[in-house]
């Protein structure tokens, strides 16, 4: 079981002193802002991106309040600090949850599978009248398409059952259990997360995160073995993740066409700071993006030296150590690049 306290502790530990307390909230909700997208790469929090899209601000603040009252963190004006007491057990969580990769497909996939399950079980039991547990018309349409595609429904029931069984065998027993308890069939309506939480005597948040992790693992297995799981694979939406926001994407296209920042500002009628945010976002997300036209090699080196010396990612601290003419924009770009190089060094050895 994944416990939400571990996830939050881990996130806050990584963000320690560098960001405001709400940045973890935005990451969990999968906010599509350049700041949040940069943060997850900067602090290695990609697994948690968008794994709690419905998280309410009130709930998050309740968590944080309890962290404060347990003296795990201290809130500062613009930021927060972890005390020595913060602890977490994340084990091999990184292998089990991948929000950045799957946040755009996970819940839709799960809903579709739930609806297929309900539909086929009812067909199997010759029950035509049932109320779909998934209201989303888009998903209902997809499931209808499946029914059309496979004319022999008896066979489809059999195939689906086998795929489901086989894929569930490959994840943890508890995860499979939690997942299937949420499924609805002809004679059985699935349990809500709250009900499961009461049964297992854990928090609803824990059930949610464990379910998300199970979904990510299943999708991964399915997409690496599409021949084995043709039906389950059908519902992995093709709208794969785009790593940059739509707005930044537009800016990126103009840049590729050779326009200057000033020109893009004029065409798009956006503020200079917004366009700069886009560029930083692009640099953060796209490893191959060249920052040379914004930062000279000389300045880049100076900035890197400071980053390594002060061992922080706080822009203000870095800027204070540099010549006045070096801008925040340049520092942010270099940070984005620096982060990529560090990750690839780690990957290489």
């Amino acid at each position: 079981m994944i416990h939400y306290q571990d996830v939050i502790s881990h996130m806050l530990y990584k963000l320690n002193g560098e960001r405001t307390i709400s940045s973890a909230f935005h990451i969990l909700r999968g906010k599509r802002s350049s700041q949040t997208l940069q943060d997850i790469h900067l602090f290695g929090l990609q697994p948690y991106y968008g794994i709690y899209p419905k998280l309410r601000s009130a709930t998050y603040h309740r968590w944080i309040d309890s962290f404060v009252s347990q003296n795990l963190i201290i809130i500062r004006d613009e930021s927060f600090e972890c005390t020595g007491k913060i602890h977490f057990q994340t084990g091999n969580l990184r292998d089990k949850i991948n929000g950045f990769k799957y946040h755009r497909v996970d819940l839709d996939w799960f809903s579709a599978i739930q609806l297929v399950c309900q539909t086929l079980s009812n067909i199997h039991k010759q029950n035509k009248h049932f109320i779909p547990v998934i209201d989303d018309v888009e998903i209902q349409y997809q499931v209808k398409q499946l029914m059309k595609k496979y004319r022999h429904h008896d066979q489809l029931v059999h195939l689906f059952h086998n795929e489901l069984k086989s894929v569930l065998e490959q994840i943890g027993e508890l995860e499979a259990e939690l997942m299937v308890q949420q499924f609805t069939g002809a004679n059985r309506i699935g349990l809500s997360k709250k009900q499961l939480a009461d049964d297992y005597q854990v928090y609803e948040e824990d059930i949610h995160l464990t379910t998300m992790s199970a979904i990510h693992q299943l999708i991964q297995i399915v997409e690496y073995n599409t021949e084995e799981y043709p039906i389950l694979n059908l519902f992995i939406s093709q709208k794969r993740h785009q790593s940059i926001t739509d707005s930044a994407e537009k800016t990126y296209r103009f840049l590729n066409n050779g326009l200057t920042l000033k020109e893009i500002e004029n065409i798009r009628q956006l503020r200079p700071s917004t366009i700069r945010d886009h560029v930083v976002e692009i640099a953060t997300q796209l490893e191959h993006f060249d920052i040379d036209s914004f930062v000279s090699k000389d300045i880049e080196e100076k900035i890197i030296r400071v980053i390594e010396k002060v061992e922080t990612r706080r822009l203000k601290v870095i800027k204070e150590q540099l010549d006045d003419h070096i801008s925040y924009f340049q520092i942010r770009l270099v940070l984005a690049k620096y982060n990529h190089s560090k990750v690839s060094v780690m990957a290489n050895g």
């Binding site: 009248h129 109320i131 308890q181 004679n187």
Partner: protein, 488 residues
């Protein structure tokens, strides 16, 4: 039997699988098919929906169904679709702009269109309807049209104009809680020549009782005792979400062998759907809920309805207890009362209507043309009240101060009415006479005798009432078995 009769029964069987009509249904359906504007009353749970659903399947053209509660219409649409009837849809404020325009452009695909009264104020919708062939116009929960009704909805008053605009389709107004005064008001407000088909509204298979206690602890003991005696599908109504969850926790502890759940408006849509369906599938024994649950619930074997708190009026009480015994078998209503419980409905009333400062700020914002802030601040009921009356007042008055005065006096009038309803309810709780007679006397001259036990003042002793429907839950616990059971 003439030809027509045989045909209607066949249609009933064909579309709904019922072999005969229940009392009143056929008369109402025939009246509608005869193109007569009709005002009809039938008890809760007696099958009023069939009275327009069946004609809409027979008559060519579109049936509009005006319904006050979004959840209610959404449930009805789902149910019809599950039964295989796909040409039905619902238009309500929950739809996004995009969904709405898409629906409007395809409106001709549907035969039955549920909508909220507010929706019928939207020009795009009305204009679209004018192009289509609307032949039936149904007003469900028609008591909402009357100022004397507990649930008065100002937008219902505008239905008259809508009906006219649509070229006067056949109107069917339905209610389970319309006193003769309200019935007259409905006819007057619609200013149509309506045939009245008034059936008794009392529920002969429900036994009414009240249990008094000195404090909340005693009340909780009573509820536990009650549930020990009654092992059958049960609903417990609360006025607050917090209490709903608290009692759920207590009951779960107390009855580990039974399936308990809770339901209120603060839950996620998905969870609400699951809990409601579990209840329908007899997967739950006891459900703790607020009034958000209920109207759409059409489970036929609910045997016990407990009110942990007082509702705000007797009509709501009738509607809520009306969820019980829809299959016609004996069911029991128990209202738990501790002295002072009426403070909760009084508070609710207070919070439903705008106070002086809200009225002033609303008018001010309107004058300045900055409605957004105040509109997001006010609750839906308050806003509905202010919008309707201000709109109406500005047609005759120009002075801002006069409008303000009038709004306040309307508000006071409404509030007094509501306060009186609570007082009436408390009077009913404390009365010594037959509860059934007192409850339904306002609706009908002659209250029918009970089919089973009548009430605690007519010899029914709740402490001696026992029922055991022998529900046992046999849930597979291993996921392999669950899947096996679904697909084998």
């Amino acid at each position: 039997m003439d030809k027509e009769t045989i045909k209607l029964e066949d249609q009933l069987k064909k579309h709904f699988g019922f072999s005969s009509f229940r009392e009143g249904q056929k008369e109402i359906i025939e009246s509608v098919l005869d193109n007569q504007h009709t005002l009809a009353t039938l008890p809760t749970g007696s099958g009023k929906s069939i009275c327009y659903q069946l004609p809409s399947l027979i008559v060519e053209g579109i049936t509009i169904v005006v319904s006050p509660l979004i959840s209610l219409m959404v449930d009805q649409v789902k149910l019809l679709r599950a039964q295989g009837y796909k040409r039905v849809t619902a238009l309500n404020s929950l739809l996004s702009y995009e969904q709405k325009s898409k629906l409007l452009s395809h409106l001709n695909r549907y035969r039955m269109i549920y909508c909220s009264p507010e929706m019928l104020q939207q020009e795009s919708f009305i204009n679209r309807l004018k192009q289509l062939n609307v032949l039936q116009f149904v007003i469900d929960e028609a008591h909402c049209i009357s100022q004397w009704g507990h649930e008065f909805r100002p937008d219902y008053l505008r239905l008259k104009d809508v009906i006219e605009t649509l070229g006067e389709p056949t109107v069917l107004a339905l209610s389970a809680t319309a006193t003769p005064k309200i019935q007259d008001d409905i006819v007057k407000q619609l200013s149509l020549n309506m045939r009245k088909i008034i059936y008794p509204m009392d529920r002969v298979n429900i036994t009414y009782s009240v249990l008094k206690s000195d404090n909340q602890i005693e009340k909780q003991e009573q509820i536990i005792h009650l549930l020990e005696q009654a092992k059958a599908p049960t609903m417990i109504y609360f006025s607050s979400r917090v209490m709903t969850e608290q009692l759920y926790g207590l009951l779960q502890q107390q009855f580990p062998e039974r399936k308990v759940a809770y339901y209120h408006g603060g839950m996620e849509q998905q969870d609400r759907l699951l809990i409601q369906q579990q209840f329908m599938h007899d997967q739950l024994d006891i459900i703790c809920c607020t009034s958000a649950f209920g109207m759409g619930v059409n489970k036929d074997n609910i045997r016990l309805i407990i009110h942990y708190h007082l509702p705000t009026n007797l009509e709501s009480f009738i509607q809520e207890t009306g969820r019980a015994g829809r299959d016609g078998k004996q069911s029991v209503s128990v209202l738990l009362y501790t002295k002072g419980d009426e403070t909760i409905p009084f508070q609710i009333i207070e919070s439903e209507l705008p106070d002086d400062s809200e009225i002033e700020r609303y008018l001010h914002a309107k004058q300045e043309g900055i409605n957004i802030d105040i509109e997001s601040e006010l609750s839906e009921t308050k806003l509905r009240f202010l919008n309707y009356h201000t709109h109406k007042l500005t047609q005759t008055l120009t002075q801002q101060s006069e409008i303000e005065e009038e709004l306040k006096s309307f508000r006071d009038h409404r509030k007094q009415l509501k306060i009186n309803s609570v007082i009436n309810l408390v009077r009913w709780v404390n009365a010594e006479d037959c509860r059934r007679a007192l409850l339904f006397q306002p609706y009908q001259e002659h209250v029918r005798p009970a089919l089973f036990d009548c009430c605690d003042h007519c010899g029914f002793n709740i402490h001696k009432w026992e029922i055991d429907l022998n529900i046992h839950h046999d849930y597979k616990q291993n996921w392999r078995n669950i899947l096996e059971e679904m697909f084998q």
